[in-house]
Every structure is written in C-alpha cells, then in structure tokens.
Symmetry: D2
Subunit: 439 residues, 4 copies
C-alpha cells in the first residue's frame, strides 16, 4: 500500500463550534506553543508494538510511524449557529480555565464561525441566529460547498477533512429519501423534511471529496445515499458518536466481565451534565437518538446468542439528565448487577467524574488526522478500523459493529501496520520463552 | 502437539479447605446435580473463536474444544489446620446459603481434610490444631507424599492436580536456600526457617509429578529450586494469587485507559472484608505479601517507560482492612485520578461489592482442569498461558509478566488453538468486508 | 390531658396489601413469636429523654411511657386488587427470605384481602381483578363501611385504625369537588372523576371515626372536605407519603449543611427499584405525584428566603427509575454540589442500598399505634406531631410543613411528654456543669 | 448577663500557619475587599430563631444579634516552623486559586510567622527550621509570652485570642505532670518530655488571659493543669479538633439513624488526603491521636447502653491515608452497614469530596470570635457551648461530651439567647395551630 506524504496545510472543518470544538482548537494552539500536551490523543501520545526482531524501535510513537499531518500544519475552520468567535465560545463553555484561554486570546479570536445550516425541527432546544437562508436544502448544500472552497483557497489548504462536532439531532430512521443518491438529491431540491442538517454538511463535504467523520449519534453519513456518494468520490467516511465517558467505560468493562464468564443481569447508567449538549438532550426526541447509540454496545460485546445463561436476561437502561450545576463536567453513575459461581449476585458501581469536552477533543484530532491519512492512502467508504473512536460504529452493510474497545484497538493497530507494510502482531507461544508477547 | 485423553478420575487436591475450597466443592456437587451453573468458569461456560471458514462451529465452548476432565470425574481432597469437614467448614464460612448446603450435606460431610503442615511463624493470626508433627520439614514433605499416594489409591484417581487455596504467608524473598534444588532439600532436612509450609506442599506435589498451581501470593513455586524440580519431573506449575475482585477490575480498566492515552496520577485502592483471609491479612507481615502482589499490575500495563508524561508520577496505594461485618463479602473502593487533554483532571470511583469465594472458586476449577490438560499435553514448568488467572503471574526467568487481562486472554486462547492445531485468529482487514473480525 | 387505656383489640386496616403491608404483617407475627425484633419502630425500640431529676427512669422506652396497643392485641385486615393471601403476596414480593415466611405460613395464609375499590385511570400500570363493583362512588364507600364494620365485629375489635399502603395515584390538585364535605358527598353520588379511590377509603374510615394515615403521596385526606369530616367525627388524620430511603437521608443531611452555613447549588437524586411501586411510578402521571412530594423538602429546611446567598440557586432534580433486577431493593444515588469558604465547591455522593419495605413497615406500625393513641387522647384533625414519618407532612391550613427530621423528632417527643404530663426538655446551660444536656 | 462591647482591634493568633490558617487569612482579606463571602461561618452567615412574638426580627443574623468583633477589626499573627510569609505558604498549600491569592498578595506578604516552638519527637514527619531555641520549656513559654505582648503592642490590639491551627502531635495520655498547675510548671522548668509544644502555647496564652481554642486532637488544654490555669486567669478555653469532613458527616447522619431506631453493625471510614496534615498523620503515633478523636463520636450518639439490640455489635474502623495526588482535597469514603425491620441488612455509602481547609477556615473564624465574646461576657474555663465545632469536645470533668450536631447547635443557640436575655425556643404544641414551630 502506498500512502502519500502529508505535505502542505490540512484544513480541519468543524460543523458546531461549541465546547468540544473550541476545546480542541485552544488545545492545539496551546500544544503548538509548548504549554500543554495532547493527552488522550493516540496519534500524538500513543505507541504501537511492532515485531521488528530487535531491528529498530519496537514501540514507536504512532505519529513517528505513520505519515500524519503535523499540528503546525493544521488550520481550523467551521460553522456555528451562534456568531461568537472561538475565544468567546470557549469562555462561555467554561471547560478551560480563564488563564489558559487568555494566553491564547489573539489566536482564538481570529477564528470566527461561518453561518450554519440550522433546522429547529431537528434541535428544539436551540435557537440559532447565525444561520444560512436558502430556498432549498440543495441551495444550502451549495452554500456550504462555497464556504469550503473559499476556506481552502483563502487559508491555503492542500487538503481538508470535516468532523461533525455539532449537537445531537432528533431521532430519525433511514427512509426512502436516504436510500439512494438520486433520491437524496431529489429530496435536497424538494426540501424533504427527512434530510437533516448534518446530512447537508456531509453531502457538501463528500461531493468535494472531503473525508467526513461524525461525532454525534445522528444518522448523517450512515445512509445508503451518502455511502454511495463516498464511493463515487473515493472519500473516507466514519461514525457515529464519539466514544467518551460512560460508554467508554462500558466498552472497557464489559469485555472483562465477558472474558471471565461472569453473568450480567442489569446495567443501569445515568449521566448528569449541564452543557449545551445536555440541554439539547433534555428534549426526548434528541435523547432518543443518543439512547439508541448508547444502548447498542452491550449486546455485541456480551453475545447473549452464545451465552444465553449469562446474558439473556440483561436489563439495560440509560438516562441522561440535564443538570446545570455541573456545566461541562459530565458525571456518570453506573450500577451493574452481575452474578458468578452458582448464580450468586454481586454489584459494581462506577462513578466517573469526567469532563465531556476534555475527553472528546483529542478524538476529534485523531479522527481528523486518520481521516486525512485514509484519504492519502487511497481508502474510501466506511473506515471500520476507526471504530475505536465511536459509540456506535458505522459498518459496511451486512456487518456487525465491533464494540469491544480492545478488539477495536487491535483492528486499528493492525490497519496501521498493514498500511505501513509491517508484520501483524499476535502472541503465538505457550511460554514467553518462545517469544516476547507483550504487544 | 498431542494431548492425551482425559480418561479416568482426576483427584483435585486443595491445601487449605476454607471458604474458597468449600465453595468450589459445594458448587461442583450442585452443578453435578443440575441445580446450579458453573458461572465464572471459562472452561465450562466460555467460548473460543475459531477461524474455520464456515466449516463447523466457529464459537465452540472451550470444554467441547479441548479434552478436559469432566466434572463427574473429579474427586476432591485436601488438608486444613481445622478438622471441620467440608459441610461444617462451608457453613462456618457463610458464603453459600444454608439451603444450598443442606441439599448437599451428605456429599460434603464425606470430605474431611487431612492434617495440615502448619507453621505459625508464617501465619500469626491463625492457630491450627489439626496439624502434622514431624522431626524435619523433609519428614513433613514425606508425610504429604504419603497422603497424596494414599488418596490416589483409595479414591481410584488416574491423575492428580494440586491447587493452593490456603492463606497468605508472611512476606519473604528468595534466599540462597531457594536457589537450587540441592540447597532446598538440604534446607528441608535441616528445618531451614526460610522454607514456608506452602513450599513443602509444592515440593511434595512436584516430586510426585503432580501439577501445582498457587492461588496465594506466597513465593511457593516461584523459586529456582522448585522450577528446577518441575523441569526434572516434567510437571506444570503456575501462580501466583488468584486474580479476583479489585485486581481483576484494575487489569480490566487500566488497559482501557492506556489504550486511550489517558494519564494516571493516582490510584488508591482499599478493600474491606471479614473472612479468614481478611483476618490473616490484618497482620502486617502477611499483608506485605499481598501488597507486593497487588502493586505490580499497573506498571506493566501502563508502561511508564514508554509514556513517562502519562504514567511516571503515578502514586499507587493499596489497603486491605479486616472488617468483620462484611464476612466473605469483600468490598473494594478505588479512586483513580486521571488526566486528559491539556492535563485536565478527572476522577473514576469504582465500588465493587463482590464475594471473594464466589469469584475465586471457578478459577480453582479452571486451573485444576488446565493444569491437568497441560500435564497430558506434555507441557512442564511455568505455564505462562495461565497468567489470565493470576494477580502476579509467574514467568520463566528473565521475562516480564503480562497483566493486561485482554492480552492474557489472547495468549490463553492462542495456546488452546495451538494445542488443538487450529489457526490463530488475528483481524487483518482494514474493513469488515474483507473478513469477519469479531474474535 | 387524659388518655384512655388501650384495652381490647386494635384492628389495623390496610388498603393495599403488597410488599409493605405483607412485610409489616409477617414481621409482627415473627416478633410475637420471638423470632425477630421490631427494628426501625420507635414505638417499640425508641427511648425518650425525660427530665425527672433522678426520680425514676430518665430514658424509658416509648412503649413503656405512653399507653400503646400491644402487638399481641393487633388484628390485621385490608383490601387489595389481587386476591393473593398474605403468604402468597409476601412470597411474590420477595422482600423476606423464604425460610422466614415458611415459618409463619399458617398465620399469613389466614389473612385474605377484601375486594378493593380500584380505578385504572388513577393507576394505569396496574390491572386489578379483585375489585368491588358499584353504581356510584358513594355506593363503593358504603361497601367499604360495611367491610369495616363486618371486620370489627367478626374479629372482635374494640378500636380500628386505617393506614394507606396502596400505590401512588396519578397527580391531581385540589378542585371544587374537594373543597367542602357537601361538594364531596355530591361528587361521590355523581361519580365525579376527580375523587380518587384513596379518598373513598378515607371517607369511609372517617365517617366511622376510624383514624386515617396516608402512606402515599396522594392527596387523599389532604383536602378541605375530609379535614371537615375529620373534625365532624373527631377523628385523627395524617399524611402524606412514608419518609423512607432517599428523602429520609435528605432530611437528615440538609439540616446538617444548613447548620454549618454551607451553600448548596445542586442536588441530583436518582432511584432505581424493581417492585410494584417502581412499576406504577414508571407512568409519568404517577411519578409526578411522587416527584411533587419529594421535591418539597429542601426549600423548607434550607430557607433560601433567609439565606439567599447560600440556597437561592439550588437546582434540585429527582428521578425514579423502574429497574426490575433490584426488585424491592431500592437503591438511591445522590450527588450534592455544595460550596464553602469563598465559594469553593465540594461534592457529596450518597449511595443508599436500602430495602423499601423493610424501611416502610415499621412506620406503618408506628402510625397505626400513634393514630390509635391520638384517638384515645381525644385529639382530632391533622396530627402535625406525626410529621416525623412523612415525606410531605400535611398541616393545618396556613402553616408551613416542617421537614427537618430533628425538629420533627423534637415535636413528636414533646407531644408525648405533654400527653403524659411530663416537663418538656430543653438544654439551658452554658456549661454542662449546670445541667445534664444530652436530651 | 452583661457582655462588654467589641471595641477596638482583636488580635487573632494562630500557632501553625499552614493551609488552614492561610486560607482563613486570605479569605478574610478577600471578604473585606468584597470579593468573596464567608460561607461556612455561622457567625457571619448564620441566623438564629428568636421568639419575639412578632415584635421585630425573628430570624436575625447571629452577627447582628450578639456583639462580635467585626472582620475589619481583626489583626492576624502567628507562628510556624517554616519561615514562608502567608502569601508563600498559601501558594504552597494550593488550596486557593493563584488568581485569588495574587489579588491579595501585598496584604498576605505582610504577615510573617514568628519562630515556632517545635519538638520533633511530637511530629516525626516534619523538619522545622524556623524555630525557637530555649534552655527549658519554661523559657520557651516566656519567649511566646514576649511574642504575644509584642504583637499586641506593635499591632495595637485591644484584645487577643489564640486558635491552634498546627499539626496533630503524637498520641499521649494525661500523666502526673499534667495533673496540677504546680506539677506542670515544674515540668516546664525541668523540660519534662510529656509536655507537648501545643501545651506550651496554651500555657503562654492562658497565663496572659488570652482565650485558647484547640483545632487539633492534641491534649493541649484538656489537662487539669491548664483547666486550673484558665480558672485562675478567668480565661475561656475549648477544644478539641475541628469537626470537618467525615466526622461532620458522621455526626449529622448518626443522629438520623438513631432517631429512626435503625441498627448499625459496622461503620468503615477511610480518608485520602495529600496535604501536610496527611503527611503528619502518616506516622502511626500521630494517627493514633486523630483516631482516638474520631472514634469517640458514634458511641455517644447511638447510646448502645440504652439500645444494645441496635448498637452493641457496632464495628467502627477509621483510616487516614496519605495520598499526594489529592493535595488538600480530602476525600472520605464511608461504608455503613445498617439493619432494619426483622434485622434485614442495608448499606449506605458516602463519598465526600471535600476540601479540608475550606471547611476548617470558617470554624477558626467562628471560634476566634466566640472565644472573644466569651471573654467579654465574663465566661471562663471550658466552653461546652462551642462543642458544635469540635470532633472531640472537651467538657468539664465528669460530663459526657455531646456529639450530636443538632443537639450541639441547640446548646450553642440557647447559649447565645441566654447571653442576650432572649427566651429559649422549644416547640410545645401538638399542632402547629397552637404555635409556629419551625425553629
């Protein structure tokens, strides 16, 4: 496989410049200044185990192993329904300390969102004012394409990538208008209400060959029409829904319980958060989208089809509660009812005092860099090897998503090894004396 | 590789017939009667993914894949410092409900412990009364060998395996008396105080070619002398310390944090339990042994050598508190201080209301069955592929232990595949369309 | 004040014979047999501090201080929408261990519920089958009165008391039909849909002079019409909603925070439970009734009117989640965001693994005994001194409820002292040398 | 009772100018500037209920009710074993945000500790360098008295009060040298090793008639010799050990459990903290002092003597763990095993993420102001009415301490009412209609 070099500037386009996007941008600026580190980003901080038989570094940093765009070459842009510049939006989000932001003020003030495509019927709890007007959804898509081209040209970008950082839209299912590119384009022209704003962004990106990664649980590119378009324009896509916080913990813990053949009869998950995301999800239609995304993970990991005695009766319930005192400090509380030997019950309680945007920001960075890598490697369509980053991984039609984070990691690492022509790694010995096994 | 059939009866010998051993024995009896299931035992309940290209079962039960002794063919025996039969000891341990025990009363009453080798200097908080007397430690070892042979003959066993279920001994380090078999045997004859009771059991077992697995953090077989003996008699060995409860959770969670390049600056772990194990560990010398075993896991998983920015400052502290109101219901509470993007702090709290013996019992069963399998497969010495079961896995000299439970599981499963001549499994595709990846 | 003796038998009538009522009845039977103790009942286990200047017992048991009916003299009866006898219903509720119930089987089987007055529009999630039919609500009320008289006569009761142990009805507010006894009786005859089943029970009881205590958050006797009737027939009444679990904890903790002038900016409370109560509350209309009851407690205790800097911005949110794996083991989780010196934030998390019916049963007993005491003391109308037992205490018109459990306790104890002609207790000294202050 | 006016300046002298003292001082400066509020201080923020029959304010602020020194009139001074000024020490303690401290820099830099009396045998984990030398302990006491007089004169103070904010000393018990003032002064002259540094401070204060309040669990003034001296010089004293964090929660919760006659069979309390206090307590001798202080609270509140069925078997265990990652953010975790109706078990877990110095600072302020008030009111000796503030309240000889925080509050409020000639408050009515009861 041949991967093109990452020469020139990479434009990272972010629909939705709220807490996550501004935390990402401020962070990258701080890292470029040397005042912070990209913790949580495996492209920047992670290592990969190679089987180089003592010829060279067996554990290089990923960014030294695969040719990724450098942080210095990234240019940020995006859209938002509010006209705050990134400094103002980041201050309002209250994720980063005022001192941190102050030190980056001029860089952040320079980044101003473009007018957003907004449809209140998809997000009832927001009232966007900084929005595009257009006679049809197709007109809006074209306006976005104009934005993208203009951004590329004025900012001197060689390549672009788009990562959706906007809100969760109301719950929808695939309908006929989504079934083919032809139907979809007809719908755009006829203002079909089943075409969500996020789909318009994705359409604009894919039409221009810009990789699109979806950080929200919205359908967006997970519809046949846009998969078709991605194939047509040879563009990588991926989604859905950044895997942070509670679901991250769940996909770490559940494989462990499964590995030990421990039964699970109940898993209750609640979340309290007070940021814009929490406010949007306070609307039942929007919560439903998130709920579906979050509910899917256990069944795939635990496989009640293989072990009905252990997992058939699992009662899984998820709640997200808007709770303003916590702002962006999302807190989750899980109660897990497990059972062991002879069916005796035990309980696990997990209380994760996390920070939503702090966990999400490095995922945006990684997805932008890997999305760009995929493009340069000539890959297109659904990038299953990026499932590691998503709550509800999009797959090629007919395949089950993989949710086990450790299997996802193996797939991601093997993908990188394969791209670079390295041997895959798999422990083969019965004893460590036969080989070094700690991949 | 050729594996002999599991014909005839397997004698499972348990030094230490307290809560864990009696929970195991009662459980196996209940399972044989069809009134309970062997939850938590992967030999009995677990599946293995095979790559059989649609020819046959790709996810067979492990017990249907490798030739293991059947539960019906197991005969239990053991030693204890108290003379209670298994019914009495199980009742006293209060792990299983009285109704469960009552239904198995006659089977359990029939199993009476043999007199134990006991040395109060190793376990100050116990006062054994049902103990062997002998002029030298060698004499005690011979008495144990007599017990083993007599048990085998009177109970009609074809094969034997020994799993240490006794208490944690005081902390000791490898000394010259442990460095060679010759020095060790000299020490046995001269009553060297540095030879612990558990070593005498292991010596007796290995001398007779009986596989020995060590469920406590004691040194026991993790000394050159007994590794030498195991090689001499072609006997499998393994240890140390059943991985249950808090450490189980730790080796599940830490790989997840590491996978995401999240930093860890503190991990505080406390445990409260009120069983005999807790009482023994209330003695600082004995706690020290357990502490060393439990402390080792994080460093191996997180690799501060590779990622000093993330893990160099990790402060790891472990406490075990004797707390009688909880009896065998061991409860752990962990506070984990992590940090992400730009160094911002987050916290994870895990409260595991577990049952010590319920988690441990199936591990004893698996280790007995796999130990016997290893013997029949002609394997000998340290069985690293059983690291999955241990808090502090014994390795061949010069190798690092693997603590990541998911890597341990891969090693275990690959070992089984290799024993049975199946292909190893490793996802190789960039997209699921190329192959089915959910190993 | 004169209090009549508690001579003869006391009939305790329970509308709703589910988990709470059957746990109470089984418990009283077990206590009478000497096999258990009435833990949690302050009439039985509590002491009261008297100021008797060393003449006699300064800390007698409450049951030795005020003339209460003896447990031996209690006769239980009641109504339910299912025809299970108390043994069957208790077995189904799975609160008490099978062994406990088995030992009481004959006593419990003897108690069979009478047919209930049921209206599905008030409790959508239940489908009662064992119900009364009647042309009008007045006819149903008369049928209940017939039941009461018949129960009294056939069981030889000298006195009666009724405690509502039924489900939470849908949310309603006081309407004109509830404003006067005349309007209410007209409504009964005309089948006014705003008259809830619980009101019909209360009407029947009060009409016959039977004290009525309300363990659910339903309006029931908290309407002018029934307060008027209680005055007319000189009958004690009280409510609403047994104070157990989370609200109990809240009214213990909030006074402590207030005492220390610590600010509170958020209080998030969630509950998971899997019993019939949880299932009923899974219906939003019914949850609303409970929510209103539970939300009221903090404002009264914290007094934002006096301390707006500390409590004006308090965000209080309560959730109840139906979660079958927990059955009657109600578990609550609270996150409390407090702030101290200079406004710095702190957090308190409380996880209460309680048992709903175990906490409620002794409250039913106490309320029955104190309700009967009030009647014998000639008290009538709302018994504010029983606020100690209720989440949302009913008061005389125009008065604020008291929620602080420690002030409620003082009021209850002073009421008992006053009934018995003892001095009230209040520490008056600046130093303990002046007096013994530990009331 | 007559209380002198609070005219002129009040010198607040603090032995130990670490996290607590500097948080107090910085806070008072910030409050004086109007940039923060004295949350947690009941002298400043608390209200008191008066029974003024609608003549005037029934809920005045305490500071408007009793004549306290104004914050503007407070002058801070103190001693420490390190020579950092208050700005440096506060910065090192990392309790307050850098921005907060920067705004107060000049005021804080102006306050420099005097050289401390230090004895490493009492606090093994500290190495003081900024210390007094003296031939005898009496000479050190005189040096302290010189410091006090010099401070008073140079700073123009009309009155003084001393509050111990220093570390916990090693565990000691009352010995003959502490039994009388004569023996104590002889010991001072002869350098008796049983006289702790904190006692030398207290001696110096009392000798000069300066009220002394003890914020650590050290014996200090809780010895007959110093009680005798306090009586001689008519000086108020009080102690021991600021009631913050876990013990605060315990004395809030335990009265609630006792009020409901719920049994308690176990209470396990652990704490993790990383400040200087935690480091000192990492030494077993010093931890013992704290442990004794913390263990005493439950027995007094629960009264196993009155209710042996509920509290006789209570197993109470307390741990404090030094855990640097948390710095001053002390975190406690409690597991409480309770039982209710028929003996059924339940559990309460409390996780308090508190800030040690934020909770303690306002207590120092209140004790200084109330200690000064007591002096002006002519009170002397042990001030039991201040028990509200202490983990282990000092009492007059022969009296039990009161630990129930609600009873302590009643005593404190009654003391204030009595000092000011107001009626005491006690609810006397059976119904609220008879009176307004919500004190």
């Amino acid at each position: 496989m041949e991967v093109k070099e990452a020469a020139g500037r990479l434009g990272v386009l972010l629909p939705g410049m709220g807490a996550v996007a501004t935390t990402l941008i401020a962070g990258v600026e701080a890292i470029k200044k040397g005042s912070a580190q990209p913790i949580g980003s495996i492209t920047q901080m992670g290592h990969i185990h190679l089987d180089r038989k003592n010829n060279g570094d067996n554990y290089p940093r990923i960014k030294d192993f695969v040719p990724l765009a450098r942080l210095e070459d990234i240019v940020f842009g995006g859209w938002d329904v509010y006209e705050d510049n990134v400094y103002e939006a980041a201050s309002r989000a209250k994720v980063l300390e005022p001192g941190t932001l102050l030190a980056l003020r001029s860089e952040l003030e320079a980044i101003k969102p473009m007018k957003a495509v907004f449809d209140k019927s998809y997000i009832q709890n927001l009232d966007g004012t900084h929005t595009k007007q257009g006679a049809t959804k197709m007109a809006l898509a074209k306006a976005l394409m104009d934005d993208i081209i203009s951004f590329r040209d004025t900012r001197g970008c060689d390549r672009l990538v788009m990562v959706w950082c906007g809100s969760t839209e109301k719950y929808t299912e695939v309908a006929d208008v989504h079934e083919s590119l032809a139907a979809f384009e007809k719908g755009l022209k006829e203002n079909d209400p089943r075409i969500a704003p996020s789909m318009i962004y994705a359409y604009a990106a894919l039409k221009l060959g810009v990789p699109f990664l979806n950080g929200a649980p919205n359908l967006t590119v997970d519809i046949p029409a846009l998969v078709e378009l991605a194939a047509q324009t040879r563009t990588p896509i991926g989604g859905k829904d950044f895997k942070t916080g509670q679901t991250l913990m769940k996909t770490i813990l559940a494989p462990g319980l499964q590995a030990r053949a421990l039964g699970v009869k109940g898993w209750f998950s609640t979340n309290i958060l007070g940021n814009r995301d929490g406010y949007v999800l306070d609307q039942p239609d929007n919560f439903r989208t998130k709920e579906v995304s979050k509910l899917s993970v256990l069944e795939d990991i635990l496989r009640p089809d293989l072990s009905p005695e252990l997992y058939n009766d699992l009662y899984h319930k998820i709640r997200i509660e808007y709770y303003p005192p916590h702002r962006d400090n999302k807190e989750s509380w899980d109660n897990i009812d497990i059972f062991g030997w002879l069916g005796y019950s035990m309980q696990i309680k997990i209380n994760f005092l996390c920070r939503d945007s702090i966990l999400a920001a490095p995922l945006v960075l990684d997805l932008a860099l890997f999305g760009d890598l995929a493009k340069r490697a000539g890959l297109s369509g659904v990038q299953e090897w990026l499932s590691f980053y998503f709550k509800s991984p999009q797959t090629a039609p007919g395949f089950r998503p993989e949710h086990d984070i450790f299997k996802q990691l193996t797939v991601l690492q093997n993908a990188l090894r394969k791209l670079m022509g390295e041997e895959l790694v798999n422990p083969e010995g019965l004893t460590y004396a036969e080989e070094e096994i700690t991949a």
